[in-house]
Amino acid sequence: MPKAIVKHLLGEFIVDQAGKIVKETLADAPLESQDPIPSPLLTALKAQKYRAILRDFNLDIVKQKIKASVCVDNFIGQAINSMADLERSANQVSRRLREWYALYNPEFTVSLQDNEKFAELVATRSKEALLADVKARGTMGADLKKEDLDPILDLAALLHSLFAQKNALHEYLERALSKHAPNLKAIAGTAIAAKLIEHTGSLKKLMLLPASTLQILGAEKALFRHLTTGARPPKFGYIMHHPFVAQAPREEKGRRARQLADKLAMAVKMDYFKGEFIADRLKKELEEKTHLPRSKKQAPAFPAGKHEAPSANAPSSKPTPMYQKRESIPAWVQQDRAPGTSSAPAPFRRTGSPSGEMRGFAPRKREERIDAGQKVPYPHRVFNRQFARQDGKPFPPRSKDERTEASPKAPFPGAYKRPAPFNRPQQGFRSSEREVQDGPRYRKPFDRAQQGFQRPAEREQDGPRYRKPIKRFEQEERPSYGRARRAPAPERSFSRGGSNREERPAFRSREREERGAEPRKNSFSRPVFNSQRKNSSPAQRFQKRQEPAEEREPRAYSRERKPPMKRWRK
C-alpha cells in the first residue's frame, strides 16, 4: 500500500492512501511546513491530545514572527510621530513660559519671537544681560526672589531640551531615511518621506501604491467624501506641504501635485528594490516644469479681452511654448457662435494654461451665454452621486417632456422629482388682478362630490363617528351680561316680560318719550336672557341643527363633524 509522509507543525505523519495515520512522530519544536494536509489527517488532529502542543507551538511561532516583523519602517513611523508630539508640547510650554517669564522680564520676551532661541537664552543668561541686549531703558518686570524665579528657569531648561530632542529626532530620521529610502528622501524631504512611510505602514506598501494614490495620501476624508457624495476630489494630501506644491500659484497646485507624485512613485520603487540614486535626475525634471510659462504673472492670459477667444493671428509673447500652438481657432468653435452676433462670446472658453498654449475648450458660463441671447440647452452635467447610475452606463437622453415633468436638473427620467407644491388657500386671500390675469395661485380644493364620492354604507350602519353632545343646558337659563352677541330683533313686543311694568325697560323708554325726554341711545345694557332670544339655548340650537333644513339648498356631501383626534397614549 502506498504511503506518504506529511509534515505538520506537530511532527511527521505517515498516512495511507485514505489519509489515515499509520505512524506519527511528534516533534520537539515546531516544524516548518507548506505541505497540503489531507482532510482525514486534519480531522484526526482534532483529538484532545494534540491541543496543548498545537497551542504552544503556534504561540512560539507567532512570537518569533512578531519579533522578526519589527523593522526600520516602524522606527521611522514612531520617530515622525514623536516629532509631531514634541512639537505640539513645545508650543504649549512656550506659550506658558512666555507668559510666566514676562512678569520678570517683559522687554526681552516681546523682543524675540523664536521660541527655541527664547528658551535657550532664558535658561542660560541673566536678566541683566538680556536687557542689555535689547537696550531697554528700565524694565516693567518685577524683581523675583530666587525661589520664585527657579521654577521659571527650570521650565525654560525643559523647553530647551524638548527642542533639542526634536532636532535630534530629525537628524535620526535623516540618517535612517538616507539609508532606507534615499531617493524618496531627496525628493520629498525628510518629514514628508517619513510621513508617507508611516501612513502606509512600510516602504513595501508605499511602493505598491500608484502615483495617483500617493498624491492624495493623507486626504482620505476628502477622498471618501468625493466618492460618496460627489464632492470635489482632493488634489493633494501630505505632499501639500512640499515646497514644489506649496509655493506654486493656486491654479497650478493640482498639476504640480500630480507631477511630484509621479516622481515620488518612481523614487519609492527605486528605493524598495535597492536601485541606483535617480533623485537628482527626477528633481531636475521637476524643476524644468516649474519654469514653464504657466502662471498668469509670467504671461497675460488673453490680451484681446478676458472672455474673447484670441484672434487667429494675435501676436504671441510667450517665451518657451511647450506644446505645439494651434494656428487658428478650430472651425467647430466658430460654427458654434450664435449667428449674426459677432460680439457675442464664443460658447467655449479656453482652458488649461492662461498663457495661451491651447489645451482644450470648456463651455462658457451658461449665464453669460443667456445674456448674449444664445440658445442654451439645459446643463446635463450632474456629478451628484445620488443621480449616478450604479452600473456606470451613460444616462439615456432625456426628452423634452420628461424634462418639464421632472426637475430640470434630473439627468434621467424618474431620478428626482420635486414634490408638487402644496398651496393652501390663505385665509383672507382675495383674488387680485394678478390672479385674474394668470390663473389662480393655488389649486382648487379637492371636490369629493365631483368625483362621485359616496359615503360607504357600513359607516352609516356602525353608528356615528362622534358622541352626541350632552344636553346640559336644556332648561337652564344662563343670563349673559353685557352686549348681546346678536343684535335683537328690531320689533319688540311688550307682551313678554315681567309683571312689574315699571321695571320693563321698554316701558321706561316709552315713559321717557311721554316726558319728552330723548330716548336712551344705548338700550342694550340691560340683562338679556338666553330664553328671550330666538333659538338661543344650547339645546335649541342643537335641535335646530338636527332638523333638516328644507329651505337650505341640499348639499351633495354633508360635512360632519370629524371625530376627535385619538389621543396618543403609551
Binding site: I37, L54, R55, N58, I61
Partner: protein, 220 residues
Amino acid sequence: MIEPSKIFEVFQEKQALFTKSLNPGKKVYNERLVIQDGVEYRQWDPTKSKLGAAILRGASNVGIRKGDIVLYLGCSTGTTPSHVSDMIGEDGFLFGLDVAPRVLRNFVFLCEQRPNMTALFEDAAHPEQYAAKVCEVDVVYQDVAQRNQAEIFLKNCKAFLKDGGYGLLAVKARSVDITKKPAVIFREVREQIGKELIIVDERTLEPFEKDHCFFVCRKK
C-alpha cells in the same frame, strides 16, 4: 438576574449579554465583571463586537457550542475571541489569525492567559500557508475588513470547516466598495456564499454598527 439566553453559553440580563468568564478576575477590554452565585460573568459589549451585536439583533443560532474548535480570522486584539473562548469553554479551542503585528501582540498576551486559544500570524487570504498549523474546525468566524471578504471566507470554509460546521461572516460594506449601496453589497455576498453554503441567518447590525451585515451559514 443573569439567566441563560436562547443562544448556547450566552447569558442575558434584560438587554445586556454575558458570558461565563474562563479566566475569572481578568478584564479583556475593560468590560464589566459581574459575580452571581459564585460564577463570574463578563459583560459583552455589542458596540465593540459584531457577534454580540448579531445576537442582540435577534440571531437565534450562531452555531457555537461548548467544546467546539473555532478558526477566527481577523482576531485583532481579541475582543470577540475572548467571548468565543468563554463560550467554547475548556474543552474547546480557538485559532486566532491576523496580519497586523501590532494587534496580534495584544492577542498573544490574551492567549497566554487562556488555555484554549492560540495565535497565528498569517494572511487569511492564503489558507494553504497555514494549513499545516491548524486542524479541522467546527466553526469558522471571519471578520476581516477586506475587499474580497466573501472569497476569503469560502476558501477557508472549504479548507478547514467540517461538513455540517458553521461559518460566521461579518461583512463591512464600506470596506468592500464605498460607492455601492450596502444592500447591494449584502445581496452580492449572499449570492456568492449561498452557492456553496446554506445561509441560516442574516441580519444587519444597525444600531450597533453602520452598514454591517452578519451571516450565519452551514456547510452542506
